[in-house]
C-alpha cells in the first residue's frame, strides 16, 4: 500500500505532546467530523515519523493522497456511503463540508432534504453553502423543490428531474446532462478550483421515484466516466441498505455500486439495539476495483457517537461512557 511520508500507517490520530509540524493547522473550524479519532491503546500505530496529522481530512493514510488536494492524484475515486438501520447523513455533511473547504468544485444532487437543511448543518461544520453557491463553487440541485416545479408545471426546456412526468420508467439522461454541465471546466483559463466532485444524497430515492436499478446504475456509470475519468474528479454517493426488507432493486443497486467503488463507508446501527452513548458503527473498506486483488481489501471498524458539531470515533468497546 502506498505510504506517504508524514502520515501514520493506520491513519489513527496519535496525540503527542508537541504540536509543531507543517501540517498542523488545527483550529476549532478545522477539526472536522472525521478528524477527531479518540486515542486508543489497542490500536497500535506504526507511524514512521513524528508528524502529527490532525486536520480536516479523514486521517487514514492510504487515502491521504486522495483527500489532500495539494497532492496530485491520478484519476478519480468513487466513494460509496451506505447506511443500514441508522442514518448515515452525517457522512454526507462531512464530505460536503470537506470538499468545499478543500476548494473543489462541487455538484451536489440533494434529493432528500432542502437546501436550508444542508446550509444550516454546513454552518455548524464551518462552511457557508450560500456563499459557495454565489461564487460558483457549489452547484446545488434541490430535488424537492424541482420535483414540485416539474410535476405541477410543464417545463419548456428539459429538466433534470424530467422522469417524474413520464408514465413508464425512463432514463436519467437529463440528470446526467445537468451534472456534466455543472462540472465542466470553464474555459476562462484560470484554475480556481482544484478538481470537481459529484455528491449525490440518496440514490435510493431514485428507486422510489420509479427508476429501475439498471437505469440508476447506468447514470452512475456515465457520471463515473465523465467525472472520475475525464475530469479526474471524485464521486460520493449515498445508498440505503434495506437489510431484511427484501428490496431487490435496492440490493442490485448496492451490490453493483459496491463492486465499482474504491472506498465503502458503511454506517450500521449496533447489533444490540439503541444506545445513548454509541450511535452506531462505521465500517471502512478500501477496494481496488481496477486492479486484480493481489492485496486483500483493507477493512476497519470504528464505533461512533455523533455530537452537535462533530463525530467522535473510538474502537469497539472503548466508548468513553463505558471506560
Amino acid at each position: 500500500m502506498a505510504r506517504r511520508p508524514g502520515t501514520g500507517y493506520l491513519g489513527v490520530v496519535v496525540r503527542r505532546g508537541s504540536t509543531r509540524g507543517l501540517d498542523w493547522r488545527l483550529g476549532p473550524a478545522e477539526s472536522g467530523l472525521l478528524g477527531h479519532l479518540a486515542y486508543s491503546q489497542r490500536l497500535t500505530v506504526r507511524s514512521r515519523t513524528e508528524r502529527n496529522w490532525l486536520g480536516p481530512s479523514p486521517s487514514w493514510a492510504p487515502q491521504a493522497d486522495l483527500f489532500s488536494p495539494r497532492s496530485s492524484h491520478s484519476g478519480g475515486k468513487l466513494t460509496l456511503l451506505c447506511d443500514a438501520k441508522t442514518d448515515g447523513s452525517f457522512l454526507v455533511h462531512h464530505f460536503l463540508s470537506f470538499y468545499l473547504k478543500a476548494n473543489c468544485k462541487v455538484c451536489f444532487v440533494a434529493l432528500i432534504q432542502s437546501f436550508s437543511h444542508y446550509s444550516i448543518v454546513g454552518q455548524k461544520l464551518g462552511v457557508s453553502l450560500t456563499m459557495a453557491r454565489e461564487r460558483g463553487q457549489l452547484v446545488f440541485l434541490e430535488g424537492l423543490k424541482s420535483a414540485v416545479d416539474v410535476v405541477f408545471q410543464a417545463q419548456k426546456e428539459p429538466h433534470p428531474l424530467q422522469f417524474l412526468r413520464e408514465a413508464n420508467a425512463g432514463n436519467l439522461k437529463p440528470l446526467f446532462e445537468f451534472v456534466r454541465e455543472a462540472l465542466k471546466p470553464i474555459d476562462s483559463g484560470e484554475a480556481r478550483w482544484t478538481y470537481p466532485v459529484l455528491l449525490v444524497d440518496d440514490l435510493s430515492v431514485l428507486l422510489s421515484l420509479g427508476m429501475g436499478a439498471v437505469a440508476v446504475l447506468d447514470f452512475i456509470h456515465y457520471c463515473r466516466a465523465t467525472v472520475c475519468w475525464e475530469l479526474k474528479g471524485n464521486m460520493v454517493v449515498l445508498v440505503h441498505d434495506s437489510g431484511d426488507a427484501e428490496d431487490e432493486e435496492n440490493d442490485i443497486l448496492l451490490n453493483g455500486l459496491s463492486h465499482q467503488s474504491h472506498l465503502i463507508l458503511r454506517a450500521e446501527g449496533l447489533a444490540t439495539g439503541f444506545c445513548r452513548d454509541v450511535h452506531g458503527q462505521l465500517r471502512i473498506l478500501w477496494r481496488r476495483p481496477s486492479q486484480p486483488t493481489v492485496h486483500r481489501d483493507q477493512s476497519f471498524t470504528y464505533q461512533y457517537k455523533i455530537q452537535d458539531k462533530s463525530v467522535s470515533f473510538f474502537a469497539k468497546g472503548m466508548s468513553p461512557a463505558v471506560l
Binding site: A154, S204, D247
Partner: protein, 425 residues
C-alpha cells in the same frame, strides 16, 4: 449553545434582539422551508404564530400533535414542513383517534385544516373531533384522576425507593388554558359546533373529486393521488402558505390530514398485490408532498395501513420518505391481551423514526417500550418497563439465620422480609 442563547432572548423580546443576533448567527431562527424569508434576509422576522413554538435544539418551528405525551417523545412536537406518518393498528381503532387529536389541536389554535379521506366525508370527521379540556369545568374530575395516579412529586426526595426518581417523567395531566402549546382533549365529548364553524377548513373527499373535471397533469400517479396533490398545491398557493403570493401574507399554519393513504379506496393496489402496476405511486406521492411541505408553513399527518402492504420494500421506502414514523400496535385479538404485563394497557406505541432536521443529531428519547391506554376520557402514553436493576446496590439481601438469632430479631417481623440496601457495605 448559540441556539439556546438566542432562544432565551427571543422569549423575552422579539425584534431588535433577534435582529442583532441574526447578523452573526443567521441559522438559529430561520424558519426552515419558508421560501419568502431566505437565509440572506437582513433579519429573520420571528412572527409568533399561535400554537407554535421554537425547538430548543435548533430553533425549528414546532406544532403540537394534539397529544402532549407524544410531543414530548418526539422532541418537542412536530416540525413545520414535515410529515408524521402513523402506521395504523390492525383494526383501525386507535389511529383515527390520533388523527382527530391532530385536527382538534388545529381548531383550538386557529390553524387552517385540510382533511382528505377516501372513506369518510371530511365534514363528518370534523363533527367527531374530541372536545378540548378547559380550565375550570373539569378541574374537579381531574383532581381525582391525578390523585389515583402514582406520579411522585418532584420536590419530595425519596429515601428508600430512590431509584424511582430516576424514572423518566411522563406528562402530568392537568387542566389547560388556550395559550399553552399542547392541549388535552376529552375523548368522550364532541368539539362544540361553534368552534368548528369558526375554523377555516378544506375537505377533500375522493369519491366527489374523482368525477370532477379538474385539469390533470400527466403523471404516473394514480388519479386519486394526482388530484389530491393538486388540491393541496392549490390551497397552499391560493391561501399564501408558501409565501409566493404577494397579496396574501399568511401567518398561519396549514394542518393537512390524510386518512388511510395507500388503502385500496384511494385506487392504489399495494395492499392487494405484491408487485402491482402502481408500486411507485405512493412513494412518488410522498416525495412530491414532501417537496410541497418543505416550502410552505404546513404540517401533515398521514395514517397508513402498513400491515396490509404486501411488499415490505415499499414500507421501507415510505419510512425513508416520511419524517416521523409512529407505529401503533393494539392488543385486541392478539395473545397479548391476556398477558398480565399488559393488563393495564390497550396497545404498544413504537416511535420508529425521528428526523434529523438542520442538525446532525436528533432528540431521541431513551424510553423505547411505550404503551398507550385509552381511559374513559384521555389517551395516555406510558413506559411499561418496571424498574429492574441488576446493579449490586439494589440486590435484595436476607439476613442470615445466625445473625437473626444473634441479634434476637426473630420477634421483629421487619427483618424477616427482604429489603433493599441503599449502598454497598
Amino acid at each position: 449553545m448559540a441556539a439556546a442563547a438566542t432562544c432565551g432572548s427571543v422569549a423575552a423580546s422579539t425584534g431588535s434582539a433577534v435582529a442583532t443576533a441574526s447578523k452573526n448567527n443567521v441559522t438559529s431562527f430561520q424558519r426552515r422551508g419558508r421560501r419568502a424569508s431566505g437565509t440572506n434576509d437582513s433579519g429573520p422576522r420571528l412572527v409568533s404564530i399561535t400554537g407554535t413554538r421554537p425547538s430548543v435544539r435548533n430553533g425549528q418551528l414546532l406544532v403540537s400533535t394534539g397529544l402532549p405525551a407524544l410531543d414530548q417523545l418526539l422532541g418537542g412536537g412536530l416540525a413545520v414542513g414535515t410529515v408524521l406518518l402513523i402506521e395504523e393498528d390492525k383494526y383501525n381503532i386507535y389511529s383515527p383517534l390520533l388523527f382527530k387529536y391532530f385536527l382538534a389541536e388545529g381548531i383550538v389554535n386557529g390553524h387552517t385544516l385540510l382533511v382528505a379521506s377516501a372513506k369518510e366525508d371530511p365534514a363528518n370527521i370534523l363533527q367527531e373531533l374530541p372536545a378540548p379540556l378547559l380550565d375550570d369545568k373539569c378541574k374537579k374530575e381531574f383532581d381525582e384522576d391525578v390523585y389515583n395516579h402514582k406520579t411522585p412529586e418532584s420536590n419530595i426526595k425519596m429515601k428508600i425507593a430512590w431509584r424511582y426518581q430516576l424514572l423518566p417523567k411522563m406528562e402530568q395531566i392537568g387542566p389547560v388554558s388556550s395559550s399553552r402549546f399542547g392541549h388535552y382533549y376529552d375523548a368522550s365529548k364532541r368539539m362544540p359546533q361553534e368552534l368548528i364553524e369558526a375554523s377555516n377548513w378544506h375537505g377533500f373527499f375522493l369519491p366527489e373529486k374523482i368525477s370532477s373535471t379538474l385539469k390533470v397533469e400527466p403523471c404516473s400517479l394514480t388519479p386519486g393521488y394526482t388530484k389530491l396533490l393538486q388540491f393541496i398545491q392549490n390551497i397552499i398557493y391560493e391561501e399564501g402558505f408558501d409565501g409566493s403570493n404577494p397579496q396574501k401574507k399568511q401567518r398561519n399554519i396549514l394542518r393537512i390530514g390524510i386518512q388511510n393513504l395507500g388503502s385500496p379506496l384511494w385506487g392504489d393496489d399495494i395492499c392487494c398485490a405484491e408487485n402491482g402496476g402502481n408500486s411507485h405511486s405512493l412513494t412518488k406521492f410522498l416525495y412530491v408532498l414532501r417537496g410541497l411541505l418543505r416550502t410552505s408553513l404546513s404540517a401533515c399527518i398521514i395514517t397508513m395501513p402498513t400491515h396490509l402492504i404486501q411488499n415490505k420494500a415499499i414500507i421501507a421506502r415510505v419510512t425513508t420518505l416520511s419524517d416521523i414514523v409512529v407505529g401503533l400496535e393494539s392488543f385486541i385479538g392478539s395473545e397479548r391481551e391476556t398477558n398480565p404485563l399488559y393488563k393495564d394497557y390497550h396497545g404498544l406505541i413504537h416511535i420508529r423514526q425521528i428526523p434529523r432536521l438542520n442538525n446532525l443529531i436528533c432528540d431521541e428519547s431513551d424510553v423505547k417500550d411505550l404503551a398507550f391506554k385509552l381511559k374513559r376520557k384521555l389517551f395516555t402514553i406510558e413506559c411499561i418497563t418496571k424498574l429492574r436493576s441488576y446493579d449490586l446496590r439494589s440486590q435484595i439481601y436476607f439476613l442470615s439465620r445466625h445473625l437473626q438469632r444473634k441479634f434476637s430479631i426473630k420477634k421483629n417481623p421487619y427483618f424477616k422480609e427482604p429489603h433493599t440496601l441503599k449502598k454497598i457495605y
